[in-house]
Symmetry: D2
């Protein structure tokens, strides 16, 4: 995580202050549960809530203690006992550090997922708005970077909408998977703590109890979570790449908003570059890469080893902060994207009607010509357009082999654009529901 | 994919014969739909079904045609017209190659998922059986590779069961995501084909219509699919690693089945190695690695480029065949795993009662000692055991600072194993449901 | 590896026949060394060379034996003794399977590297030829996909040449690293075999002795090798991406050769797509992905575990065969690339002289204007061109703030192309040496 | 990068202060070169060096300007002109931002490599010292986690030494590759700047001129650099994994240093865990993962896009800071590793002589028995030891089939340890040179 690519709300989730506050809540709720069960004095629990609830935990003091004991949870508990007094000895009883650490990580990832879901909602809204705005804006569809057949700019955005709607569903599932609570002791047997404590804490923290933990919550949950972020990042890269293509000098069908005062290049005053989308492409690579160590984290030894910990200290913040920043940037880019319908039309006209080649070929086939022959016939004329800029329709009209099968008037009628856009409403209804 | 790590049923899904058969079905169903809608003669559709349905497609002939036209679908269609005759010209009308290729890939991945689900079911069954068999077999739980507190071997397997049950759910979701059908033409606009054809083919092929496609089905679906396989592979690595650890000479609590006639080492006749589990570890690395190019495939240019194709030709078979083989091998390994409960007990006794250190510490705390003091006191005695092999209980009993707080009889009672296993039934009920 | 993306010479390196032949040579050379040292009868070595040298090893028979003993090297040795007779008992004495397997893999990877080096040489030759052909062909340089300043098409190719020349050096280094021989016994101590045997075999097989092995050759060597292939693949992706961009309909400055009879699209007869370059993009993703499991293979347990083996059985062939095919395809693509200089000139003219914006700005600065002011002044005029298609030079000439600093005649002189290409010879000399 | 896993010297390389200082030096040296060539007034260069050399660049002020102009280099140049005055207008003439940014990154990566090389030297020194200390300490070699044949602990460390010595060579090569300078203008043509400026700056900054750049230094260099770090990380994981294995409760042949006051577990006072090595395992995963986006960065569009930038802002610091921290931690772990030779001997004795099985088999073969028969005979006795703990030598002596071929006295002599360690000096000489 670097400040340049970070937003405060997501950063706050990963601050030491937030972490210690969550730790406190987990410990205090566990204590309350034990007090309810008569295992510890109710007064102790009350005292802990009272003193700890009011306190601001001193991050530097905790760090100082950790340097001595070389154990972060013990350092926190020591600091807590400084705040609470002797009643603190009932805190953490029968628990192991991972009970606190893992449950805290679940809370943090669930909160991070909530922010990411809000980001996706904003992006979806932007895509929907712009899709309807350009539902009927014709533009050439391209396969292999080569003009294929017409589509509309709204359809492009509808496609992106559908893709991010899927990503939203994936993230909802991943959030549900990650939101579990383990308060099960040193090897997950509840030897020194009752399973009811886990259930109590889970409910209070908005989590579900982990059905069976070892010392830790199993890391396949986290792997699935970060893999989901990686898939979202990949979709983000796709949309960013589309914008980069559209802004190319030779294409220039759309452009990132370029604010007054902005400088595109230190050397070349004429430049307006799609730097946001390029930046998103790079950020997507990062978010994608974090899925790998998350997957390697799954195979912990026996009831746990701590190799996952350093990885998660890094990718927990890095992946969520980067993706949050990137999704917000992407939403903003879409919201403010400058679209050039005239240029789209110009580009559409560039291949002089070639995009109707399939329709002509089909008509020849319908008129009795074999598929092979009609393909060769149409390809022959198409290549003249491709190579020498000939007008496709004129070439067809001048060829008796064609006009024998298709009257000139029908040929001409085949070059209307509406043919290609007649199902746009159907597709919009599929994507956005009945309007 | 290499034959050594492949099973015939999964291999068959990816054979050219299967592929061409699915292509035929897609084309023929599309033709039927068009015939029903009156777009093509019913007789043509009947002829295609009759001739094509009876034919065995000649893979070598298709390859030969492809070498000339450099296009696989055109090569197939040409061959099909050789079989069907002139009626074949109605086939593929208004469709694009990707309509066939992508829908076929959906069918193949869905079928592959079905085999993998069956593999998971077998593995889950094996884990459950062995978990119940060893529900009460005591064994030491280890964190960081170091003895922690006792658990049971059944609990270890129950944990694996829960993990693979989650993986099963993930795969069900991924299968649903991948099982879509696109018959939408060159840029997804249905310009030359009616959306009803897509709906018809989807239903016949057991798929759902893709709400909005470009020339292709969007690749975030495939990325999510292969990422799911990668997560499953990671869980597989975890279980394989557990077995490898248990079979270590110094641990030897369980062992892969070693068949008569088997040779562990060409040089050392005494060896019995956990080679299956080590092999699974390597295969897991492979399946995991395939998720990356699948994710890089998402950002296709505009309405598609074909960079995804070579990747999928490789990872489609490679990932599913490898994972199928590996899951079957893992299931077999669990089914036949030789377990040594006596050795588990011996290892459990190795640290001379140290695994009760937490319980003693808690009792001291309950008796009024501060958390810090009781930790230091117990640690002092524990280190004598750790470093000089002293008997932990004897040391405690000999220390008045301890016995002042806890009577000797209570101390002794703290070393019973049942304390650690009292919640095993609760956990089993959580994992396997009420028995 | 799939046949579609494979060439016979590289495939042959990985055939069972080649493998068993190399195994035989390693075993037989080791035997010769032992015979020279008087450890085994000379006649035995002679008999083994005579019988084994003449034999064709029966792959199916070896597979059959392996199914019983579950050990590939033992299966081979058993088959060898069937061929050689009782003298075969001296074969493999004091050796371990990995001595044979790892040394064989070194030979295979070194041979594969030799083919890849030849591929790179062909590619370099093609790049050099085309670079000189287009040394002075002007074309617009683009940053961010946006026109920047002019360059030449030859310079683009010279850049690619320099990049692949670096890749060649990397591969030479990686080949040297991988070409080691280990004949050191079960844990690398030479307990049952003399280090001189290793030295003898190494020399005969064209390898260097591994200074210190465990049971295996350390896998950091292989990781470095596959990482090098991954870097080469990334460069390949870069060049392929460049071609894909140049062939875009709106750019069309260069085009993959499109052979007579070729069909670009099953549906659209007008299409000519950069399918080779797109294919190379996908293959690059695959080769890159193989580096990961190779790196995960490094951390074998103690003196070895066999988790690396399944990985290498797959990526050994997959990575080298795919990269060999891809490099050959790339070389062919460059050799036959159709270049359109006229179109390059048209695109160059598209921004109406804007690519001289920096030069004008520098001149204003030289004439005493502050950097900030000259930037703003030039940007103002540039944006008019950008947004409304105004002629950049005319705008400048019409602005007294400009002409006060730069006389009109000097302004006009600033729009010559030679200014941008004056150092092309210098750069070519750097890349290709003095011509 | 997070403070917990960072050391100040490496962090300083990546601070904004260091970056701006390097930017200044690049700009000022370029200005000096231009002054020497008579392109700009000498006084301007002197003034820039004088004012800029004395200044502390105000990071907050630069950030403030960047928020307006949205361009970091322009922001810096604006700030520089605030410091220097009107002479600043000669700075950056004919250069492009990437000239500064890329050359700066080269300097930072080269400096980072120097620190990493020092880390490797410390680690190598530690490995060598401990290797000689334990050159003759016998320990069991293990393959597949199973006892194989004896080796010495010094040999294990010598192996690690040789591996890290290779890594050192790789890093030296990667450093040389990355240390290039590009001052070549907007598309690498030197249109507005003389190549001599690049040569001048390169020499002053300790770099080599990039033979042919586009707008940027080609990213295959960076990919190779980060791939090298990833390989080093993989070796680190291997050594860390070895330590984790050796510290397992059942093995306990070596242990990380456990300082007084340290707490192994918050719950279990008896624990001493290999947490440093586990931590290194996790950090290795991270460093490895950074190689991927670095490789994806290679395929920039045309003369550059800026997608690489965000990646490098993250992995530049993250990879080098993490690896620096990890290598230092690994060196410290080796330096202070507590080794238990008695425990090694106990474990060595565990399989009751089984590790001599190969030697006995070879002797039987030498005595005329077929390889197959001797294998079966030795395996039969070995399995009795394996399964029932029988003494291997006694079993052999009691079997006439054995003693017929090998006299009892010779059998007994086969169980001496010196047989296995006789070539240790040879191997040490190979690794460390003649002592």
């Amino acid at each position: 995580m670097i400040p340049r690519y970070a937003r405060p709300e997501m950063v706050a989730i990963w601050s030491p202050e937030t972490k210690f506050r969550i730790w406190f809540e987990i410990e205090a709720h566990a204590l309350s549960a034990m007090a309810e069960m008569g295992r510890v004095p109710k007064e102790a629990a009350e005292k802990v809530w009272e003193k700890g609830g009011a306190a601001t935990f001193d991050v530097e003091r905790i760090d100082e203690i950790e340097r001595e004991v070389k154990h972060d949870v013990i350092a926190f508990l020591t600091h807590l006992s400084e705040i609470v007094g002797p009643e603190a000895r009932f805190v953490h009883q029968g628990m192991t550090s991972s009970d606190v650490l893992d449950t805290c990580l679940s809370v943090q990832l669930a909160r991070a997922a909530d922010l990411l879901l809000a980001d996706l909602d904003r992006l979806l809204e932007a895509l929907k708005t712009r899709a309807y705005e350009h539902k009927d804006t014709p533009t050439i569809g391209r396969s292999h970077g080569i003009h294929a057949e017409p589509t509309t700019f709204g359809l492009k955005l509808a496609q992106a909408y559908a893709e991010f709607a899927r990503n939203r569903e994936r993230l909802v599932a991943a959030r549900a998977e990650i939101a579990t609570c383990a308060i099960s002791g040193a090897v997950g047997t509840f030897a020194n703590i009752d399973p009811k404590v886990e259930e109590y804490v889970a409910e209070k923290m908005g989590l579900k109890p982990e059905p069976v933990s070892t010392q830790v919550i199993p890391r396949d949950r986290h792997a699935a979570f970060f893999a989901t972020l990686a898939v979202i990042a990949s979709s983000m890269e796709r949309l960013a790449t589309e914008i980069r293509h559209l802004q190319r000098t030779e294409v220039l069908e759309a452009e990132e908003y370029f604010s007054p005062g902005q400088k595109g290049s230190s050397a070349m005053p004429h430049k307006r570059n799609p730097v946001l989308s390029e930046n998103l492409t790079g950020l997507a690579r990062m978010v994608r890469s974090y899925a790998l160590p998350a997957m390697e984290n799954v195979a912990l030894w026996h009831e746990r080893d701590i190799s996952h910990s350093s990885v998660e200290r890094m990718i927990g913040p890095d992946a969520t902060i980067t993706l949050d920043f990137a999704l917000a940037r992407l939403a903003g880019t879409i919201e403010k994207l400058v679209v050039y319908p005239e240029r789209m039309q110009q580009n559409l006209d560039k291949l002089a009607g070639l995009h109707n080649s399939q329709r002509v070929m089909l008509a020849l086939t319908q008129a009795g010509m074999s598929r092979e022959d009609s393909y060769r016939l149409v390809q022959k004329h198409a290549m003249k357009t491709w190579e020498r800029g000939a007008d496709f329709l004129s070439e067809l009209k001048a060829d008796p082999e064609v006009t024998q099968k298709i009257p000139v008037s029908e040929l001409e009628a085949m070059f209307d654009l509406g043919y290609h856009t007649k199902h746009v409403d159907t597709i919009f209804a599929r994507v956005f529901g009945a309007s």
